[in-house]
Symmetry: C2
Subunit: 331 residues, 2 copies
């Protein structure tokens, strides 16, 4: 197969995985909410009051499984398509959740909600049409070489210093009043999560497809551990933000900051943008702005703060159990 | 100059003219509104009560001049760029009017209005990036040959028959209850206006640039007369629609129908779409849908039905005097 054909097939696989991941993740919110609603009508102790009866519900487990599949699809997508494509498409999970909650939970989607859904699709199409098509990195060894590139190391260093400064200076003063503080830490660390996860995904993909065994390499395990640490930090601060602020504000602000930082990080690491025409860069920017408007519209104008209420409730009160859920939404 | 360079320069001239035309037309609504407001504070008879004192206002004349320049720029734009690019960019005049009315008339632009403005810009950029770049027709003689093409003649015939049927059957029954009826006639005839105007503009452009004298040709005068007749029909039915329905509904519905029909008519005549990649067609569709959402958002969510109130008032009560104004908005 020629290199360009390979790129094309690889891109399509990554794109399909990213879209299906959003469908699974979006659906899982609704499935779990249905399970919780069913449980409440049965008169069981609510999870917020310490009840664990939802574990006996098969629908709840279905939701959990859906979430797991979505998370896995997302991780694998990073091995096939550029991070600058996979991350922004996370907006589709907000769309899926909105549409399904209107259908199955009878949460009325008003005209603004519909406009938000429509814009979400249009923005995604435009983004996909213009996004970087070539993943600059096909091999695990290439990635590890690039990771030790001085510019990328400076990026990691900057993120760590910035996170420390924000944590020490800004969190005590503005953490409870300004939404930016926690979300900034969360998004900055999240941009590293994506890069490390991409490394892990690429390592596994290569080990399966070729004779090279990355699983036994030190760097693979380092990336895996770094991924887990980053996910935990990210989760911790996202939960803090969700605890203090309304989910309807946290979701879009987080989407915007996280996506921008992932695009910056993967831009520094993979130089996806250097090969692109001005034409496509303008298109990508427009697509991304439309996605931002869509996510804001879906969250601001809807009559009920539909599915994300659920995520909020669950993530705060059962922090450890649902840790995976939040991460999924993040990546 | 090479053909491709010529195309490129021609495209840029047409694009600049289309954008400046929208700026002039958008501004003229505001300038005229300022004149009318000033006149009202001076205690003169309102135009709706038959007063003509606005003719003594230099600001009003400035507005009229601005409108004239905008109209001229729009007509010339059709000689340089594809109609499928020039017409959709008419959405920008709604944006300009919204921004200026917020600035000079203290009409507060709420969050939805701002989103509408932002989407309007994004949609226009995407549309321009993907729109047909090559005007298939450079010469007046080519255009006149194409006009007698059987498929285009069938289009004219279909439009005429449809207009007649709508006028005879639907106008008496649903004209006052369904917004579609008048707007359909108006948009259908408008799509012919654009084609004929493009012919006139091309004829004048060629007569100036080369030795060919189109002005003395029979077909040039036929196109001019047809343009004027179509404009008058279009104006007449737009005024009827504005008289019965709210401008906030008429504006977006008219924008959508008119633009779609112009794209169809110019697609049949100039085959602009045949040369385009699937990629660009998808981009154009997305850009156009975003423009529709933008025009709807700007018109539906705004707190006041800002500048178009003015157009409405003026156009209905001083139908003959302001006839030009409406036409401009249409093309």
């Amino acid at each position: 197969m020629e290199s360009q054909d390979y790129d094309h097939v690889s891109f399509l696989i990554g794109l399909s995985l990213a879209i299906s991941s959003s469908i699974f993740i979006g659906s899982s919110f609704i499935i779990k909410k249905i399970a919780l609603m069913k449980m409440n009508t049965l008169g069981n102790t609510r999870p917020s009051a310490g009840g664990y009866s939802y574990l006996k519900q098969w629908i709840w487990w279905l939701g959990f499984l859906t979430m797991g599949i979505g998370e896995a699809a997302n991780l694998v997508a990073y091995a096939f398509a550029p991070a600058a494509l996979v991350t922004p498409l996370g907006a589709l999970s907000v769309l899926v959740a909105a549409v399904l909650s209107a259908k199955f939970l009878n949460e009325k989607l008003n005209i603004s909600g519909k406009i938000g859904c429509f814009l979400c699709i249009l923005g995604s199409v435009i983004f996909v049409v213009h996004s970087p098509k070539h993943d600059e990195i096909q091999q695990f060894s290439e990635l590890t070489t690039k990771l030790s590139d001085s510019i990328f190391l400076s990026y990691i260093f900057t993120i760590l210093i910035m996170t420390l400064i924000v944590k020490v200076i800004f969190v005590p003063r503005f953490g409870n009043t300004s939404i930016i503080v926690y979300i900034l830490i969360c998004s900055a660390v999240g941009s590293l999560t994506v890069v490390f996860c991409k490394g892990v995904a690429l390592g596994i993909k290569e080990s399966i497809n070729s004779d090279i065994n990355n699983i036994s390499s030190f760097i693979f395990w380092l990336l895996l551990i770094m991924s887990i640490i980053c996910i935990m930090i990210q989760m911790n601060y996202l939960n803090k933000a969700l605890d203090i602020f309304n989910t309807n504000i946290v979701t879009p602000v987080y989407y915007v900051m996280f996506t921008v930082l992932v695009i910056i990080a993967s831009g520094i690491l993979f130089r996806e943008w250097e090969q692109m025409e001005m034409y496509d860069i303008v298109g990508c920017l427009c697509g991304f702005f439309i996605l931002i408007v869509a996510v804001f519209t879906l969250n601001t104008f809807k009559e009920k703060s539909f599915t994300f209420d659920l995520r909020h409730r669950m993530s705060i009160q059962e922090e450890n159990f649902f840790s995976a859920d939040i991460f999924i939404f993040c990546t």
